[in-house]
Symmetry: C2
Subunit: 231 residues, 2 copies
Amino acid sequence: MDVAQPIAGRAESSEATSASARTVGRLSLYRRLLYGLIEAKAENVYSHDLARIAGVTAAQVRRDIMALGHSGSPVYGYNVRDLIDAIGLVLDAEGGQCAALVGVGNLGRAIIAYFASRRPRLGIVAGFDSDPGKVDRVIHGCHCYPVAELGRVVREHGVGVGIVTVPAEQAQQVAELLVAAGVRGLLNFAPVRLTVSPEVYVEDVDITTSLERVAYFARGDAATRRRDSRL
Amino acid sequence: MDVAQPIAGRAESSEATSASARTVGRLSLYRRLLYGLIEAKAENVYSHDLARIAGVTAAQVRRDIMALGHSGSPVYGYNVRDLIDAIGLVLDAEGGQCAALVGVGNLGRAIIAYFASRRPRLGIVAGFDSDPGKVDRVIHGCHCYPVAELGRVVREHGVGVGIVTVPAEQAQQVAELLVAAGVRGLLNFAPVRLTVSPEVYVEDVDITTSLERVAYFARGDAATRRRDSRL
DNA sequence: GCCTGTGAAGCTATTCACAGCT
DNA sequence: AGCTGTGAATAGCTTCACAGGC
């Protein structure tokens, strides 16, 4: 909301250079936590507090907020509302953004349900499945189409993000369909590495790997023990 | 850091020091890809090849394999079987390891289904839910118990890893139950940061954050574009 | 030639620590 | 006194580049 750049304003119109993947991840987390603070009627928050609930260091929080081009006050810390807005300025697309999900199985339905309630700015506007039994149903407000209509629907809605929740064997093909239809980012839950044009951003959520990692560190016969998680 | 390696084989019983979270993640990925190579009847693989299908550099692959204490041959590359075994030596627990999942909703069922087929060494042996309607069913071979029996069942099976797929509000409480029952690692899908004793390893799979990150990079109005994913 | 194994260099991310402010 | 903002230091991870081997 407020644009007030720091003092000696060199016409730095927008915020700095692009944030790193890790920073973006933490900003997303901070925002969620800040909404929680609003519910708790907090107006201001210190880097310390946010750091504690986010599970990172205070210096990290300050750096991340610096990356936003946002400033707090040494006296009151950060204003919660303003900080949420500043994060939105970076994370949210100007005119909203939408996603489509392919593979309306258990996982796909869980994800649709997940995003149905919240996310005004980034909604899942369509689901696709090759199983005729799943088509034309509406799940949590999200309409399911046959895969054959993917291209048309994605184009019509201007979908920019694709979520892949199909079995491994179909993932590559689905990714190609999505990219061909104009999607610029993929969130892939299938345990395969997708091969797509390099200007498409792909993030893999690899549950097998995560579980094996937890198992490894849970044994703890190795020394290190780190709550790491965040990319 | 390393103990003397050179040719003169000192009976280095076990492999080197503990691997980092990122390395462990890649090893898990490599193993999966190697199983694929076996299906394709490949006996050997070069760091180059593995790198290509894993989406990393060859140097990275060699480093990771070095971390295993495993060696290849400059002529044949790595023997696929041996490499799989070497990875198993690091990733797999000596006497097997098992996990329990709490929250048998869509997401929980998807994960159970996911691991039901494969994973001989690391299985989900029990599910828990507070909904009486979900209890006592068997999903993909995994029995579902009421949460009240969590402590008993976890202890009886010697479960070391807990998977949290309950709604946000219940996650902290469930984590505490699991830890109290002896679990040493948690894979958390709820969008909350869990507070647990520091010797418990927690990995968060934060789908909201992942989606927001994909959306951010999909816009690409920022310069960088990186297929990053892996922790 | 083309591989592996690896010291050294290069990057990136995080933390330290302190100036500056109120 | 206690906060933010940030240069400098550190730590961690990845890549380079080349020795050594067949």
